[in-house]
């Protein structure tokens, strides 16, 4: 017997709608004209939201596991180079609502390189050559395969105060993402956050889990500097900060594939392109 999921969806929506009507009948009792009109008016408002899968006030839906359903920047269809937090990272760094300094990164869900960066990555397989005596060729024994570090070098520019704020957030995010949680942090002892790197579409770098092993900024003396005004600076000092109007940023990333994820690896699946990641799900295998 085949299920018709459209019918099930309609049934759920009907049940939700009738629940709304029951609730309204309790809230606004009576069979008078005013009561009926008020119930119909409020009921249609609630039904429109339910059918559109929205909550009053634009609030997030709460998932059964206690998490919060969030819809982030549509990075699945974006082929620009991006370095974002993992979808399950929680409210840290730019996802911390109280972090004014990193807030510009929320609009793009992480660092987006405005110009195509230079990406350097190497794949290797290590073999050990057994030198058999009195033989013309070494016998190669396979050791392991690995992906080397990903080097991403790109230029950022700031020509407006908004771009300056974004650049300041980028610099501060990259600095912050190299440090571990420590001292006063509630989750102290946790290593630096695992990020997701994406570039050039799903079959190139698609939400690859990475950590930052190094980042370099070139604050050159030959470029202009522009003020970036941050809404709320730390330390009680003037929050106006200068950033260069053009800067080259070098980020060195190390792919991090968990042991659990490695158990899902299969060379045939990899070759068919089935192990690409999802921005809001599992990380990709580079």
């Amino acid at each position: 017997m085949a299920f018709n999921f459209n019918n099930i969806t309609e049934a759920v929506q009907d049940a939700t709608s009738s629940a709304v009507q029951k609730g309204l009948s309790k809230a606004i009792p009576g069979d008078g004209f005013i009561s009926k009109t008020a119930r119909g008016y409020l009921g249609s408002q609630a039904n429109r939201l339910i059918n559109s899968q929205l909550n009053p006030g634009g609030e997030n839906s709460v998932l059964p596991n206690g998490g919060v359903a969030t819809a982030r920047f549509g990075s699945d269809n974006d082929t620009r180079a991006r370095l974002a937090l993992s979808p399950g990272s929680g409210n840290i760094l730019y996802r911390d609502p109280s972090n004014e300094l990193l807030r510009p990164l929320t609009t793009t869900d992480g660092v987006v390189w405005p110009y195509t960066p230079s990406i350097n990555v190497g794949y290797s397989a290590a073999y050990t050559g057994n030198q058999v005596i009195h033989n013309n060729y070494a016998s190669q024994s396979y050791g392991q395969s690995m992906i080397e570090q990903i080097s991403c070098v790109g230029t950022f520019t700031a020509n407006t105060p908004e771009e300056a704020e974004y650049l300041l957030s980028v610099l501060h995010f990259l600095k912050s993402a190299t440090k571990s949680f420590f001292g006063q942090d509630p989750n102290r002892g946790t290593p630096p956050p695992v990020l997701r790197f994406s570039a050039h579409g799903p079959y190139m770098f698609n939400s690859v889990p990475v950590v930052i092993s190094a980042t370099n900024f070139d604050f050159e003396q030959t470029v202009d500097y522009i003020n970036a005004k941050v809404a709320s600076g730390g330390g009680g000092v003037d929050s106006t900060t200068r950033v260069p109007s053009s800067i080259s940023i070098n980020v060195t990333l190390l792919p991090v594939i968990s042991r659990q994820r490695q158990t899902e690896f299969g060379l045939e699946k990899y070759a068919r392109g089935e192990l690409i990641g999802q921005a809001s799900g599992k990380g990709g295998m580079p």
């Binding site: 408002q45 429109r48 939201l49 059918n51 559109s52 929205l54 909550n55 009053p56 006030g57 634009g58 609030e59 997030n60 919060v68 969030t70 819809a71 982030r72 549509g74 730019y94 996802r95 609502p97 807030r103 929320t106 609009t107 869900d109």
Partner: protein, 100 residues
């Protein structure tokens, strides 16, 4: 005679010069990573006022979707069409940003 615009108006911060409005003073809506991404459907096509009423019980906030989604919406009404993906600002965000 000057007119005083309500706090939920896009012109609330714009000053008056006699009977004329001065240069428009924008009213930014902060963006948060957990703002809900909504695809405009037939119910709300060209009706940001209806969506604002359903979400915030205030149809005068029709303009906040265009301000929150400057890359997606240029015309607050006619760009509000089926299939358009927009972020929905939360009631608490609007209360804080607009003072309503």
């Amino acid at each position: 005679m000057t007119v005083e615009y309500r706090q939920d108006s896009p012109y609330a911060q714009t000053r008056m010069q006699g009977t004329y409005l001065d240069i428009y003073e924008p009213r930014p809506i902060p963006s948060y990573a957990d703002d809900v991404l909504f695809t405009v459907n037939l119910t709300y096509q060209f009706r940001p006022d209806l969506l604002a009423y359903d979400l915030y019980s205030n149809q005068n906030l029709w303009w906040v979707f265009a301000v929150r989604n400057p890359n997606a919406i240029e015309d607050p009404i006619w760009d509000f069409r089926v299939g358009k993906k927009i972020y929905i600002p939360k009631q608490a965000t609007l209360s804080k940003a607009l003072g309503i």
